[in-house]
C-alpha cells in the first residue's frame, strides 16, 4: 500500500504536466511560413552579415516581407539563387560571378623595416608606423583576411601571402573590408589579368623595396591592343569592361607585377 501513493502522485503529476504541455504546444504554436524554411535551406548559412541583416534567418524573413533584394546576398550560389527566386516568385537578372583577388605580390620578398612583436593581426600591425614591411602599401601577411573569410576560401601561402580559392570564394567582400591596406578587389572571374601591386610610390622607390612591384614603366599601356590599361597615380589600372584577357601586358611587364589569375 505504501508504494501506491507515491507512484500515483508522481504518475499523475507527470501525466498532468505532460497533458498541460501538449495543450500548450497546440495553443501557443507559432506558425512558420513554409517559404521560410525553403529559402533558408538555399541560403549559404554562413551568417556572414554582408546583406546587412543579422544572419541568414533574418535575411530570409526580410526577403519574404520584400524589404530586401536577393542581390544583397553575395554569397549565394547561382542555382540556389534561382530556387529562391522561384519560391519568392520574382525574376532574376544574370550576373557574372565575381571573386576576390589580392593586389600585392610582395610577401616575403619584401624586407621588414623593424621587428614587430605585437598582436599577430594585420589591423594591429598597421597601426604601428603602417606596418613592419618596407613597402607601406603591401600585404603584412598576418592572415587577418584568412581568419575573417566565412567560406574558408583564403589560405596563407609559404610566401606569406593570402591565396584565394576561386572555387570557394563567393565574393562576399569581407576580406575587402577588413584588409587595412585595402589590397583585395572583387573582379569578374573569367580568366582575367590583374596588377598584383598597390604601391602608389614612384617607380624608383617601389623597385628599391620590392622585386615584383609596379614601377610605372608604362609598357603595358603601350602594348595593350584594346587600350584597357592606363597608369593612374603611379599604378596601372585595368578596365575590365575593355580587357579581353589577351595576356600581352603579362608578357610585357618587366617586373612580373601583372599576372593572370
Amino acid at each position: 500500500m505504501e508504494v501506491i501513493i507515491p507512484i500515483t502522485v508522481l504518475g499523475s503529476l507527470g501525466l498532468l504536466f505532460g497533458l498541460g504541455l501538449a495543450v500548450a504546444s497546440k495553443r501557443f504554436c507559432v506558425v512558420v511560413d513554409p517559404k521560410l524554411e525553403k529559402i533558408l535551406t538555399c541560403l549559404p548559412g554562413a551568417n556572414c552579415g554582408v546583406c546587412g541583416k543579422p544572419g541568414c534567418m533574418a535575411f530570409a524573413q526580410s526577403l519574404i516581407k520584400g524589404e530586401v533584394s536577393l542581390d544583397s546576398c553575395r554569397a549565394i550560389e547561382e542555382k540556389e539563387k534561382e530556387k529562391v527566386a522561384e519560391t519568392l516568385g520574382v525574376k532574376l537578372e544574370k550576373k557574372v560571378k565575381q571573386v576576390a583577388v589580392l593586389r600585392c605580390g610582395g610577401g616575403k620578398k619584401v624586407k621588414e623595416r623593424f621587428q614587430y612583436n605585437g598582436l599577430q593581426d594585420c589591423i594591429a600591425a598597421d597601426m604601428v608606423l603602417r606596418g613592419q614591411k618596407e613597402c607601406v602599401y603591401g600585404c603584412l601577411g598576418f592572415g587577418t583576411c584568412a581568419e575573417v573569410c566565412p567560406f574558408d576560401a583564403i589560405s596563407m601561402s609559404e610566401e606569406g601571402l593570402p591565396v584565394v580559392d576561386f572555387e570557394k570564394c563567393r565574393a562576399c567582400g569581407k576580406c575587402v573590408e577588413i584588409c587595412p591596406k585595402g589590397l583585395f578587389a572583387l573582379i569578374p572571374v573569367t580568366g582575367r589579368v590583374i596588377l598584383a601591386c598597390s604601391s602608389h610610390e614612384i617607380g624608383r622607390n617601389t623597385r628599391e623595396v620590392c622585386p615584383v612591384g609596379c614601377i610605372t614603366c608604362r609598357k603595358c599601356e603601350k602594348v595593350c591592343p584594346v587600350d584597357a590599361i592606363h597608369v593612374v597615380d603611379n599604378l596601372a589600372v585595368i578596365d575590365y569592361n575593355k580587357c579581353t584577357s589577351c595576356g600581352e601586358c603579362v608578357k610585357a611587364c618587366p617586373t612580373n607585377a601583372i599576372i593572370k589569375v
Binding site: 501513493i5 507515491p6 502522485v9 508522481l10 503529476l13 507527470g14 504536466f17 505532460g18 498541460g20 504541455l21 500548450a24 504546444s25 501557443f28 504554436c29 507559432v30
Partner: protein, 202 residues
C-alpha cells in the same frame, strides 16, 4: 516578518552564499555563457526569471501536495519534473507572446531546464522554511525573495566572470592554459574572494 530577516536573505543569497562562488551550483552555464557580457546578462535575467517562478510553483507543490501526503522524500524528482515542464511551458508562451523577449532569452531557457542551481534554490527554500512538516510563518514570501536573490547572485557572478573573460581573450595566455583552464583558475580566485563575505554572519 522582520526587516532583518529580509535583509539577511538578500545579502546572504547575493554575496555570502552566492550560488556559483560559494555553493558551486550552476557551474556549467557559469563557464559556458560567460564569454561576453551581453549574453551573460541575458542568461542572468533568464535565470532570475526562472528561479523566481520555480520558487513560487515548487512552494505550492510542496505545501499542498507533498507535505499533506507525507511524500517529502519525493521532492527532488517532483521538483525536477515541475521545473522542466514549467520552463518548457514558459518558452512556448513567450515565443508566442513576445518574439523580442524570445530572441533575447529564448536560447538560454532550454539551458536552464535542468540547471542544478534552480533545483538547488527550490530545495534550499523548503529546507529553510519548512520545519517538522509545517511551513514557518511568512515562508511563502521569504522563499520567493530567496529565489529571486539567488538569481541575482548568479547573475552577478556571471557578469563579473564575463567581464574578466573578455579581457582574458586579449591577453597572452600560455597555450596549455588558454580557454577553459584559465577560466577555472579565475573562477577559483573569484570564489576565494567571495569567501571573504563569510565574515558577515547574521
Amino acid at each position: 516578518m522582520e526587516i532583518s530577516a529580509i535583509l539577511s536573505i538578500i545579502i546572504g543569497m547575493v554575496f555570502v552564499n552566492n550560488f556559483v562562488l560559494s555553493k558551486f551550483l550552476g557551474l556549467c552555464p557559469f563557464l559556458g555563457v560567460s564569454r561576453n557580457t551581453k549574453s551573460a546578462l541575458s542568461m542572468g535575467l533568464a535565470v532570475i526569471f526562472v528561479m523566481s517562478l520555480s520558487g513560487f510553483i515548487t512552494w505550492l507543490v510542496y505545501r499542498f501536495i507533498l507535505v499533506p501526503l507525507d511524500l517529502i522524500y519525493l521532492r527532488t524528482i517532483v521538483f525536477i519534473l515541475v521545473i522542466a515542464s514549467f520552463v518548457q511551458f514558459v518558452e512556448m508562451v513567450i515565443r508566442k507572446m513576445s518574439p523580442a523577449i524570445y530572441r533575447a532569452l529564448g536560447i538560454y531557457l532550454p539551458l536552464i531546464t535542468t540547471n542544478c542551481a534552480v533545483l538547488g534554490v527550490t530545495v534550499l527554500n523548503v529546507n529553510k522554511f519548512f520545519a517538522n512538516g509545517k511551513s514557518l510563518p511568512g515562508s511563502f514570501v521569504l522563499s520567493l525573495l530567496q529565489s529571486f536573490f539567488a538569481g541575482v547572485g548568479f547573475t552577478l557572478a556571471l557578469i563579473l566572470m564575463s567581464g574578466i573573460r573578455e579581457r582574458l581573450d586579449l591577453n597572452d595566455v600560455p597555450k596549455s592554459l588558454a580557454g577553459i583552464p584559465i577560466a577555472f583558475i579565475v573562477a577559483s580566485l573569484m570564489s576565494l574572494a567571495f569567501m571573504g563575505f563569510n565574515g558577515f554572519r547574521f
